[in-house]
């Protein structure tokens, strides 16, 4: 009985020690982790928004929308900025499962009329060396979407050049660019009709 009691005590003490260490480290790092994430988010949002000044910080107006057309049934954040109290631009989080390997997630910056200011892939697991050219740090392919809108590019042109569209594909990989093009096109079509959901008008 005594031996069991002692064993339990030791185990309990170890668990308490571990909890204490974790609580301490968590409280020391939490602020910094949040700050780093906010900074990262706000710097990537600003590259996808037109020149300021805006009335608000995009992070403050975040809304969580779950829209199938944006690629996910999970709520995804949408950021908006206003200029002189009128809607100015928005950044949508869109994702697609059509890639070569799992989910591709992007941020898509649009001005109020629906012209793309910029798009950035934030998360993907496409083949390194082939599919990962959708990342800006690997190639500038994604900048092809800058200044594109539904009025500059007809419905049929929203595909890769091999299929008669306007967008390049990379050598050896067409599934990944097709997936990104389709996701962006779908998001633009959704935005065209549902702008009132994004902005408070």
């Amino acid at each position: 009985m005594n031996r069991w009691f002692r064993t339990g005590l030791v185990l309990g003490a170890c668990v308490m020690g571990a909890i204490a260490v974790l609580v301490l480290v968590y409280s020391l790092t939490q602020n910094r982790i949040e700050n780093t994430q906010q900074e990262w988010l706000s710097s990537s949002l600003h590259t996808l928004l037109p020149e300021g000044p805006y009335d608000n910080d995009p992070i403050d107006t975040v809304q969580w929308l779950s829209v199938a057309a944006l690629g996910s049934t999970e709520p995804a954040p949408v950021y908006t900025v206003y200029q002189n109290q009128s809607p100015y631009a928005a950044v949508l989080t869109i994702s697609t499962q059509d890639g070569y390997n799992g989910k591709i997630q992007l941020l898509l910056g649009l001005d109020f009329c629906g012209t793309i200011i910029g798009a950035r892939v934030t998360q993907h697991s496409e083949t390194p060396g082939l599919g990962d050219d959708i990342e800006l740090r690997r190639s500038d392919w994604i900048t092809e979407f800058n200044e594109v809108s539904l009025s500059t590019t007809e419905n049929n042109d929203w595909t890769v050049k091999q299929a008669g569209g306007t967008f390049d594909a990379f050598t050896g990989a067409t599934i990944t660019p097709r997936a990104v093009i389709k996701a962006i096109h779908r998001a633009l079509q959704w935005y065209e009709v549902n702008r009132h959901l994004v902005f408070a008008i």
Partner: protein, 227 residues
């Protein structure tokens, strides 16, 4: 030969009992994260730190740990150490944290760590256990870095790509571009490349060990018969 026990510990960790090249422990992270030198270094250092904490604490708790709770307590120690390292890395090296992804928390399941805690630290004094952790951890680290460098070099023609994730922005010029990425052999970056490269390293190591025996034995024999 009269090596001090520490020299022996270091020799076995770095070479004769190297966790990655001889014991083949922790292959999952080893193969998954070694697609470039910086990732390898990041995971190697994280593993080394976990191993150090786990070995030191296991050895310290030796007198009071009952057999029945030994393993749970090891798991607890390792999981705590990994969580602490993960939180710290997330706060100060967010880029590296993002590129190591799931393999950072998976250090918990690296059998190298619980293996050393059980096989070495649970029956040796604290000082030896710390030496063992440093030696084994460094042994794992150098293999990861070499494997990562080779794969990166063959696959995309660079060395120390993304080095700023680990050492900050001023390290950016350390990246060496050996040839254009388009001429790289993509297979080196993909999972099969990890197996090929590790296989070649294993073969080289065994070949080296054998040839050194082949050279040394006759020399010893000569020395014995003539002097």
């Amino acid at each position: 030969m009269s090596d001090s026990p520490f020299t022996q510990l270091w020799r076995s960790g770095l070479w004769t009992d190297n966790p990655a090249l001889v014991k083949l422990l922790g292959l999952c992270p080893l193969l998954a994260v070694s697609n470039n030198a910086v990732n390898g270094m990041g995971l190697g250092i994280a593993t080394l730190l976990t191993l150090l904490v786990a070995n030191a604490l296991t050895s310290m708790l030796r007198p009071i740990l009952d057999n029945s709770i030994r393993i749970p307590v090891y798991v607890l120690i390792i999981a705590t150490a990994v969580t602490v390292i993960e939180l710290t890395m997330k706060a100060w090296l967010p880029g590296l944290h993002a590129s190591l992804g799931i393999f950072l928390p998976l250090i918990v399941t690296n059998c190298l760590i619980i293996g050393r805690a059980e096989a070495f630290a649970s029956r040796n004094p604290v000082r030896d256990s710390i030496h063992d952790a440093l030696a084994m951890g460094t042994g794992f680290l150098w293999v990861l870095v070499v494997l990562g460098s080779i794969r990166e070099m063959v696959g995309q023609g660079t060395l120390l790509d993304d080095v700023e994730l680990l050492f900050g922005d001023y390290a950016r010029p350390w990246t060496i571009q050996l040839f254009d990425a388009d001429y790289g052999m993509l297979v080196a970056l993909l999972p099969p490349g990890a197996f090929f490269t590790l296989g070649i390293l294993l073969a080289l190591k065994n070949c080296g060990d054998q040839s050194s025996v082949l050279v040394r034995q006759p020399l010893l024999w000569l020395r014995r018969s003539f002097f």
